[in-house]
């Protein structure tokens, strides 16, 4: 206890260099813990992009590709599935609900998704949250369009505005379906998922703008359908979907259902389990994570090295102090303990201050990050990972403390009670 008291008083006496050292350790620890928090937040928001969906079904191809275009609005679908096939699986006894997606068009860079009312009823994200409307109603008529929150905000659209759909996926399409404009009837509440960056129309709407198109080529002049013709139709026949989401009544059926779909012979198609595919995808991104973590660990080491330097350089001016401690009966071992304790106190204070700093920054920055980047970083009490980090930092400080301590030990033995400076 005496040595701890001495260590603390000695550190307090060198308040300026102590606070600089603690500050640099705190910053580095805050970076380490902060990056970890962001990483966990990213991973969670990533794997929570979609929830409660048991299978995503599309034409045969890559699983990650299917996931990308169905869930993240990235990449292009290769093939569509016929409406009959979709209906067959939708009525499969193991299937409780489905959400059909018709993809392939866009509006000023935002994906257009053709779907039906099941999307508004069944789509779930981040632990079961439902799609909610911020304004208006869910689109249900042929030329109704519902906008994701970001689309409405970035393009400045409001209810009643007209939206022309572009064929294909790209910022600038040259084939506009502009003879058939859609009308904004609803705007979705923000979800911080790719839902915010999509434009939702009905499957009938997708069919209507593609009347007369064959194999992705526009109709010959004179064969286009007019808006009036479409509106005059009693019923528009839906011919295809790109992919669909499946919810089973009983989750034990998922694997069997997946196998059945993959083995379906009438049409080449595949089903993926989103949770598995998402974690597979995340592993692909994992290299960047490891790299980032490595960098932050090095930053912490640099912070601790700063401590080492400051303790080491203080030793020369402390030789007199060491001689006094020896004279009153402190063994060279006590000198080692004193210096190691100082290092541990610095590291521990820095680690705790860093942890506190993370919480300050998180609580101040969380709403800003959520609004700007769409990344929700949860604020939780420090978990096992944080304590592990702090333990590692203190342990590293402890080990590094031996460098100046052993130097002091040798000096103390050599100097004895005489200080030859």
């Amino acid at each position: 206890m005496l040595v701890l008291d001495l260590a603390l008083k000695s550190l307090r006496n060198r308040a300026f260099s102590t606070s600089l050292t603690v500050g640099s350790i705190a910053l580095s620890v805050a970076l380490l813990v902060g990056v970890e928090n962001v990483r966990v937040g990213m991973r969670e928001s990533f794997s929570n992009t979609i929830s409660q969906t048991d299978l995503i079904v599309g034409a045969k191809g890559g699983t990650i590709q299917l996931l990308l275009y169905s869930v993240f609005g990235m990449g292009s679908p290769t093939n569509n599935l016929s409406w009959e096939t979709y209906r067959e699986w939708a009525e499969h006894p193991a299937v409780e609900w489905t959400i059909p997606y018709g993809l392939g068009d866009s509006h000023r860079g935002f994906r257009v998704i053709g779907t039906n009312e099941d999307f508004y009823r069944r789509y779930r994200y981040r632990g079961g949250q439902e799609i909610a409307l911020a304004e208006g109603r869910a689109g249900s008529e042929v030329f109704d369009v519902t906008l994701g929150a970001d689309v409405a905000a970035e393009l400045g659209y409001g209810l009643g505005d007209e939206v022309a759909v572009t064929h294909g996926i790209g910022e600038v399409g040259f084939l506009n379906h502009d003879q058939m404009p859609f009308e904004v009837v609803g705007i979705l509440a923000k979800t911080f998922t790719p839902v915010d960056r999509a434009v939702y129309v009905t499957l009938e709407g997708i069919e209507a703008i593609h009347f007369g198109w064959e194999d992705g080529a526009p109709p010959m002049p004179g064969e286009e359908h007019t808006l009036e013709e479409v509106l005059a139709m009693e019923e528009i026949e839906i011919t295809q979907v790109t992919s669909f989401f499946v919810g089973t009544a009983n989750r034990r059926d998922v694997l069997r259902l997946q196998r059945e779909i993959n083995d379906y012979e009438a049409e080449p198609m595949m089903a993926v389990i989103p949770g598995l595919a998402l974690s597979e995808m995340w592993q692909g991104i994992g290299y960047a994570e490891t790299g980032l973590r490595l960098v932050t660990i090095f930053v912490v080491l640099v912070g601790l090295l700063g401590m080492l330097v400051s303790l080491y350089t203080s030793l020369n001016e402390r030789r007199r102090e060491m001689a006094i401690l020896r004279a009153v009966g402190a063994g060279p071992g006590s000198i080692v303990v004193l210096l190691v304790l100082e290092a541990v106190c610095l590291a521990a204070a820095g680690a705790l201050a860093g942890l506190g700093l993370v919480y300050v920054l998180l609580s101040a920055g969380q709403p800003i990050v959520e609004a700007q980047v769409g990344l929700f970083i949860p604020i939780r009490p420090p978990g096992s990972v944080e304590w592990l980090f702090l333990g590692a930092v203190v342990t590293a400080g402890f080990l590094m403390g031996f460098v100046p301590a052993l130097k002091a030990y040798r000096t103390a033995l050599h100097d004895g009670l005489a200080v030859r400076v």
């Binding site: 020896r326 004279a327 009153v328 009966g329 004895g416 005489a418």
Partner: protein, 227 residues
Amino acid sequence: MSLAIDVQRLRFRYGRGPWVLDIPELTLERGTRAFLFGPSGSGKTTLLGVLAGVLKPEEGEVKVLGRDLASLSGAQRDAFRAEHIGYVFQMFNLIPYLSVLDNITLPARMNAARRARLDGVGVKEAAAVLADHLHIGDLLKRPVTELSVGQQQRVAACRALIGAPELIVADEPTSSLDFDRREAFLELLFRECERAGATLVFVSHDRTLEGMFSRRISLPDINKAAL
């Protein structure tokens, strides 16, 4: 009368260097006020290091208060010093980050035997009594950096005396004081050593003080290694 110090055939050197101490015999009875003098480089501080158990002699016997320090391990010598020896340096005696009070109480906090000899009063009370005796009772709460050199040396004396160690070793403690203050400091130190029954080994190269001591030892005369 038992001996406070009984040195026989002591030889000491730093590492593989030349001999610094080569003392056939040096004895000192308990309660003596010894004045050890010699020019710079005659090995005064080294001898004190050996007597205090910080330096280990290569040859010979160094009995302090009946214990042969040469036969003790480093840790045992440290514990022995903490319990039985009070040490006063020439200058810069105090740990800068401790208050006057904390500097005085340091040996008592470090060693249980020193604490046990405080006659039942607490560490702080004992320090306050000593500080009063040395006329620095009003400085206890002050940071040591605000003290004059004379005040610092009296704080160091208090620290050496707390818990009544049997042997007080002082390495030129008065060399940074002016003459009047030297005598006053010595008188206070003598009085406290007498009160505690302690033996005093006082080192100086300044022989104007030697008349105040009961025993005078010339180190060059007894140290054959002196150059």
